[in-house]
């Protein structure tokens, strides 16, 4: 985090998260805004978390892990550095590139923009949760068959975004497919084959 040229501390995302971790997720966004009517009563229902580490239960790929983390730790950090599930990638760390995409109760979310504490009580699926042993899921097989990757760094995020779509819309149209991965960056140029692979799965 940098100081501005006149020496004042800029409000960085990290600092915001650090402070936000002191309250549960819902109340955090109110910290810098005027409280809405009834917010005081609502806030009273939520217990502040932290400072310091708190116990966090994460249901990842069907297995429950109990970790001790500071509330400011994001889900992507918890998955990668604490659970060694490094298939989910942290590439931009501000919700822009989609490489950190995981499923939370079936919805594709950026795990870098999700606090680990807020992922509790939800079913988290990561790229590691798709294959059954050596048996690849249909999307994964299609990616290999259609060579829908080069360096492979965007690949887990792409597959998770597409899984979220195809689970809801098994016969997704090309327009729906494009929309589903609109938030996933690929720097290598694998997009045409990614679309081919996804279309192949949608066609059945």
């Amino acid at each position: 985090m940098s100081k501005t040229k006149n020496g004042k501390q800029k409000l960085s995302r990290r600092k915001f998260l650090k402070t936000a971790g002191m309250a549960s997720g819902a109340a955090a966004v109110c910290l810098f805004a005027k409280p809405a009517p009834g917010a005081k009563a609502a806030a009273a229902k939520h217990q502040p978390l932290g400072p310091g580490q708190v116990e966090v239960r994460l249901d990842v790929n069907g297995k429950v892990h109990v970790l001790k983390l500071e509330p400011r730790v994001t889900l992507v950090e918890a998955l990668r550095e604490r659970l060694n599930l490094t298939g989910t990638k942290r590439t931009c760390d501000h919700g822009e590139c989609g490489a950190c995409t995981v499923l939370l109760d079936g919805r594709a979310v950026c795990s870098c923009m999700t606090l680990a504490v807020n992922a509790q009580g939800k079913k988290i699926i990561t790229i590691e949760g798709l294959a059954q042993g050596k048996l690849l899921a249909r999307l994964q097989k299609a990616f290999v068959e259609h060579d829908a990757l080069q360096c492979g760094f965007c690949t887990p995020g792409m597959i998770m975004s597409l899984k979220a779509l195809l689970d809801q819309h098994p016969r997704a149209t090309p327009a729906q497919i494009r929309a589903a991965i609109a938030g996933n960056y690929c720097r290598c140029g694998a997009l045409p084959n990614i679309l081919k692979a996804a279309s192949a799965v949608a066609r059945g």
Binding site: M1, R72, V73, E81, T86, T91, V144, C151, G152, F153
Partner: protein, 525 residues
């Protein structure tokens, strides 16, 4: 740093001059009109695989062998090494100058060093301007505080201090505790301004911000332009681009006594290893660099640079393995960029399209680094008996340049190809025809075949029919261009074939998904 030749010529290994050659015949081509060509190869060369060779593996489509690893998230990139893989792994973060040009009066990192979880703090006493990573490692301080020095930072983002701690969060907190007193100095970041004699000098040791290269000449361009029926003159500009690989620059360093292992996100493990051995004064046999998978490089990941050197330095200081990875901001600021260029080009040709003269004068900035040259490739693509190609580097107080998709080629290609298109307009000639009249066809290249097949496949002859659909705001067009990249690495000589970069055993060229692994196994078959 990346070993580029001057004016685009490939650096040649000294052994090549002494190798005895022999002549071989090979049947080459892309489609129905194969040609038999004669080529010259080293005497020890095995029979060449041409169109007649009966091949079982090469030339057949094979699925990407690392595909399953990558689609299941099992593929390990440098960024993916965790304390589970390397117990005691620490995380390093870099404090960077917020100013393009300033004197560092003092650095006090004592509060950072005292923060629980911080295991090492290193202050960088003398600037390297990103460029010479060797220089960086000679001049670090030992204590947590640094008195006034003759230290200047000459680009925004230049390294000032590094911290290694038990977690990234602690390392970032520690950076905030480092007090640096800067005295701002005049800077210049615009390359046109930097060319003016009164501009602030970027490198004190250089007599000017402008560094001309040696011109490349052939024939007599004045004569060439006199012979021309048509002459065009254009100035083209391209901006600085950023590679922004998906996986940022990252290195994980581990010492075992005097043996050093670095897992690195790099395009060349051999060059990285040589840089490490030199910087830390080690036997190359004691240095190992591993890149199993890399999340993109595009030219920005050659050599140890500063991320490799600093990871190894912090690992030594802390007595533990250290992971140093750039965040996205640093990946934009400090990971190298593709230089810009202003290119003035003058082309002369006969009525039938044959080029008679080519003169290009170009300049661009590689920030505080060198090699923004772009004209070299122009001599390789088209036959032109009279030419003069001139490049200049312009220093600016900005991040160093790195190659991107071959150093200088994209910029140079844009200029020469645009000029050829405009020349074709003047000559009222099909742009493809103009290329055909002039391109350099090497024996194994089959460029004429590529033009033919390419033109057919995209419907080049029907490009005039692409006109706007009624009521649609969209316009469609079709264009073409020719470029190339000579193999530059003498290690490429250990394989047979046209592709550069890898085959057989012992290839140091990292596979970033361009079928390097598959290509290597295919060629060894």
């Amino acid at each position: 740093m990346y070993p580029t030749g001057r004016a685009g010529k490939a650096a040649r290994s000294p052994q090549e001059k002494e190798i005895k050659k022999k002549k071989l015949k090979a049947k080459v081509g892309l489609s129905q009109n194969p040609q038999v060509v004669e080529i010259e190869v080293p005497e020890s060369e095995l029979p060449v695989w041409d169109l007649d060779a009966k091949l079982k593996i090469v030339g057949k489509g094979v699925p990407r062998i690392e595909g399953p690893e990558k689609v299941t998230g099992q593929a390990k990139y440098t960024l993916d090494y965790t304390p589970v893989d390397l117990p005691g792994l620490l995380y390093a973060k870099v404090l960077r100058s917020p100013y393009a040009h300033a004197r560092v009066e003092s650095i006090d990192a004592s509060r950072a060093a005292a923060l629980p979880g911080v295991k090492a703090v290193v202050l960088i006493a003398k600037g390297s301007g990103f460029d010479a990573s060797n220089a960086l490692l000679d001049v670090v301080s030992d204590g947590p505080a640094l008195e006034p020095q003759d230290r200047e930072v000459i680009a925004e983002g230049e390294e000032v201090a590094v911290v290694a701690a038990e977690s990234e969060a602690i390392a970032e907190d520690a950076l905030e505790l480092i007090e640096v007193k800067y005295v701002r100095l005049p800077h210049v970041v615009d390359y046109e301004e930097a060319r003016r004699p009164e501009a602030p000098r970027v490198h004190k040791e250089a007599s000017s911000n402008v560094v001309p290269g040696d011109p490349q000449t052939a024939g007599d361009i004045e004569k060439g332009f006199k012979e021309a029926d048509v002459i065009i003159e254009r100035t083209l500009r391209v901006p600085v681009l950023l590679h922004n690989s998906a996986e940022p620059h990252a290195a994980v360093a581990k010492w075992e006594g005097k043996k050093l292992t670095v897992w690195a996100s790099t395009q060349g493990v051999n060059g990285f290893r040589e840089d490490l051995a030199k910087a830390f004064k080690l036997d190359k046999a004691d240095v190992r660099v591993i890149t199993q998978h890399m999340g993109g490089g595009f030219g920005s990941k050659f050599g140890m640079q500063n991320y490799g050197g600093l990871a190894a330095l912090m690992a030594r200081r802390a007595g533990a393995p250290v992971k140093l990875a750039y965040d996205r901001h640093e990946e934009n600021q400090a990971a190298g960029n593709r230089p810009n260029a202003t290119m003035w080009i003058k082309l002369g040709a006969k009525k039938d399209g044959r080029l008679t003269a080519l003169h290009c004068r170009a300049y661009g900035t590689a920030g505080v680094g060198r090699d923004a040259s772009v004209t070299g490739m122009m001599a390789t693509v088209y036959k032109c008996p009279n030419l003069r190609l001139e490049d200049s580097d312009v220093y600016t107080n900005a991040g160093m340049g790195m190659p991107m998709r071959a150093p200088g080629y994209p910029q140079g290609s844009f200029a020469i190809e645009s000029a050829m298109d405009e020349l074709a307009l003047e000559l009222k000639m099909d742009p493809l025809e103009l290329r055909r009249k002039n391109f350099v066809d090497l024996p194994l290249l089959a460029l004429e075949e590529m033009y033919q097949v390419g033109a057919e496949k995209i419907g080049w002859s029907r490009r005039g029919e692409l006109g706007p659909k009624p009521g649609s705001p969209l316009r469609r067009g079709m264009g073409m261009g020719t470029t190339g990249c000579e193999p530059r690495h003498d290690r490429a000589r250990r394989f047979r074939g046209i592709r550069h970069g890898g085959a057989g055993s012992g290839c140091g060229h990292a596979d970033a998904g361009r079928h390097g692994d598959g290509g290597r196994i295919g060629c060894a078959a």
